[in-house]
Amino acid sequence: MITAKKVSKEYSSKLALDGVDLSIPKGSIYGLLGPNGAGKTSFIRIMNQITAPDKGEVYFGSELLQPRDIARIGYLPEERGLYKKMKVGEQVLYLARLKGLTTNEAKSRAKEWFERLEMSGWWDKKVEDLSKGMAQKVQFVTTVLHEPELLIFDEPFTGFDPINTNLIKGEIQRLNENGATVIFSTHRMESVEEICNHIGLIDNGKVMIEGDLLDIRKHYKNGTFAFTTRTAVSDWGPHEVLSQKEDHMGYRTVLKSSEFPKELVITLSEKESLVAFEEVLPTVSDIFIEIVKNGPKPWNHE
């Protein structure tokens, strides 16, 4: 859907993006992750053609990104707002028409969305009379109303209350199932881990790692296993125990093992003590910390 090739962008001697190569697959839910100031917003603004890259190219599909592609993108920026004095309905129509919809198209689609998100009575309200949560729903509708093929959300869940967060996560997944490609950009990596299937990790304007989330997590697995036992077990043999705590199922012990701990699994299940066993994959933040500390782990193409 989006392919970036060697994209660089400099702001008054600070390199915001340094030769970024990214490819965002069509139909994916893509997490653009990295700490604050990593260059995420710079890259998003280039995709939205708010700024142009100093070097490199960005492709939309198979063609170079061009002005008319704006209508195919829906963008919810981190710094978002609405005209306070304008009525909700007018505002939604205005923003939709700026994206190229006709008044009638915009009106009928807006009515549909307003009904779906239970906002029907809001049409003639002024934005300044809305609560923050209500305004967020309006913003979401304005982002998706023109049925974009690519949806970009920058720090989407900061400032959204939990009910709206769930509602909107659900709507985004539905849009994705209907074919839209979705990009989430956030520094809170854990917040999107469960819904993203692709990620790109950026730090200091450079891509650290990119690809299918599951593949990456598998690639970075480091022999961590979790055993949940009915009673507390103290003897774990030669294995290094990372943590132990009691939870609703019993006692959970996380340990390191250089190979699959087959012996332990057999012994514990014979004692009928074993309730659950799993291999623990590293979280995105674990991977991020690992890469920052030790550099990216090379892929072995065996």
Binding site: S12, Y75, G81, Y83, Y94, L95, L98
Partner: protein, 435 residues
């Protein structure tokens, strides 16, 4: 897909025109304007309460002058009264003031003029003093003339009042009567109108930009349209509001003036006209002369010039103000950038009088070439008839500068609107030009 710039113009225009304050300002504007025209006239003719003045005229200098309707003079007999008695009398009477004219040793006019006293129950008004000064000077002059053996009648005959009729030399022997006072008024009023328009609406552009920035909608908008389109749409939309408001004002002011002058205070306006006529020895000629003068003004140039500088000035300044608005977070921070932007305009207004007095002087010439002052200064000069090449040169410079400034302002704007929580310095603004 319709051009988004029209959508932006439409929104900017409608969102302002539909506001209650627009209606209010639009309706109150002409009222204020009409009041400006009428109230001074009304005040001038409003009579002060008439005052009664008692005069202790020892040298019988004024006697038997009775004063005028507003200030009546009544005389005390100097043989029976002195200053102290007269003061007592003033205190216990309904009189308002006491004028004391001492005779001195031998009725020396120079002694008298230095020793005249005026006592009032309240502070005597400037107008009353002025009137009495005038009366006394007249009488003392007469007394001096008589003393030197000159007949005052002769002096009155010698006194001459010169009226020069000035003409501008026409090209084919059609000399036109020049109309300096009318040109002055026309230049000044149109110049002021441009100043007012530029300032009022450019600041609205700045506010609009700041509103979009502080409400954080701007990034949503510029992901749909170019920042440049948003800026130009705003400038054009607000300019359109200004034009509409201006046209309504002119129309309403005219109607209001007509209504008031013909129905509400007809006698006042008749009086003003009569007073104007009486002030001129050839009263009935005034009307014709004014017509002649008006004919000497090239109204086509003035109207075309007004329209051009009206818009040219507004576009130039509103682009600058848009850049200022984009660079700051709060209105309070805008001061440091606004001041340098507004100084040229203020300079143009401050020098307006000098320009009027010498419309073809060096100051006038250069100020009407510099694009930041030319809309006002050139407008002030236009009614005086300016060489065409100067007008075109000034216009070309203005247009050229406009495009340069819009380009630069657009660059600052593009960066500024996305820059939050940062106090911007001049140095940074210049850096943004290179982004």
């Amino acid at each position: 897909m319709s051009n988004p710039i029209f959508l932006i113009i439409q929104r900017e225009f409608l969102s302002r025109v539909r506001k209650k304050t627009f209606l209010l300002v639009t309706l109150i504007g002409p009222l204020a304007f009409a009041a400006l025209m009428i109230v001074p006239g009304l005040l001038a003719t409003m009579p002060e309460d008439s005052k009664q003045i008692i005069v202790l005229d020892e040298p019988t200098l004024l006697l038997p002058h009775e004063g005028k309707e507003q200030y009546t003079l009544e005389y005390l007999d100097p043989r029976e009264n002195d200053l102290e008695l007269a003061k007592e009398l003033l205190r216990d009477s309904q009189y308002d003031a006491l004028l004391y004219i001492p005779s001195g040793e031998n009725w020396d006019p120079d002694f008298i003029k230095n020793n005249i006293l005026l006592f009032g129950k309240e502070d005597p008004s400037m107008e009353m003093q002025g009137y009495l000064d005038y009366l006394l000077e007249e009488q003392i002059n007469k007394a001096k003339l008589l003393k030197n053996g000159v007949d005052p009648e002769v002096i009155a005959q010698i006194k001459t009042n010169v009226t020069i009729k000035s003409f501008t030399l026409g090209e084919e022997g059609t000399d036109e009567q020049s109309a300096v006072p009318i040109k002055m008024a026309l230049g000044y009023i149109t110049g002021m109108l441009i100043y007012f328009f530029i300032f009022f609406y450019s600041v609205q552009v700045m506010r609009g930009v700041m509103e979009e920035k502080s409400s954080r909608i701007v990034e949503v908008i510029i992901s749909s349209v170019r920042p440049y389109q948003l800026m130009m749409g705003k400038i054009l939309g607000i300019g359109l509001v200004g034009v509409v408001q201006f046209i309504i004002w002119i129309g309403l002011s005219g109607i209001l003036y007509t209504v008031i002058s013909t129905f509400i205070f007809p006698e006042l306006f008749a009086e003003q006209a009569a007073a104007g006529a009486a002030g001129n020895p050839a009263g009935d000629m005034v009307g014709l002369e004014v017509l002649d003068m008006l004919r000497s003004i090239d109204f086509t140039t003035v109207i075309l010039g007004f329209t051009f500088y009206f818009f040219g000035g507004y576009f130039l300044y509103s682009a600058l103000f848009a850049a200022v608005g984009s660079a700051v977070d709060q209105e309070a921070d805008s001061q440091q950038f606004m001041l340098p932007v507004t100084i040229p305009m203020i300079l143009a207004i401050v020098t307006a009088m000098n320009v009027i007095q010498a419309p073809n002087g060096a100051l006038a010439f250069w100020m009407s070439m510099i694009p930041l002052t030319s809309p006002i200064t050139m407008m002030i000069r236009l009614p005086f008839g300016i060489p065409l090449w100067e007008v075109f040169l000034s216009g070309a410079i203005l247009v050229g500068t406009f495009f340069t400034v819009v380009g630069l302002a657009g660059k600052i704007y593009r960066v500024g609107i996305l820059m939050y929580g940062k106090k911007v310095t001049w140095k940074e603004l210049f850096k943004w030009l290179k982004y």
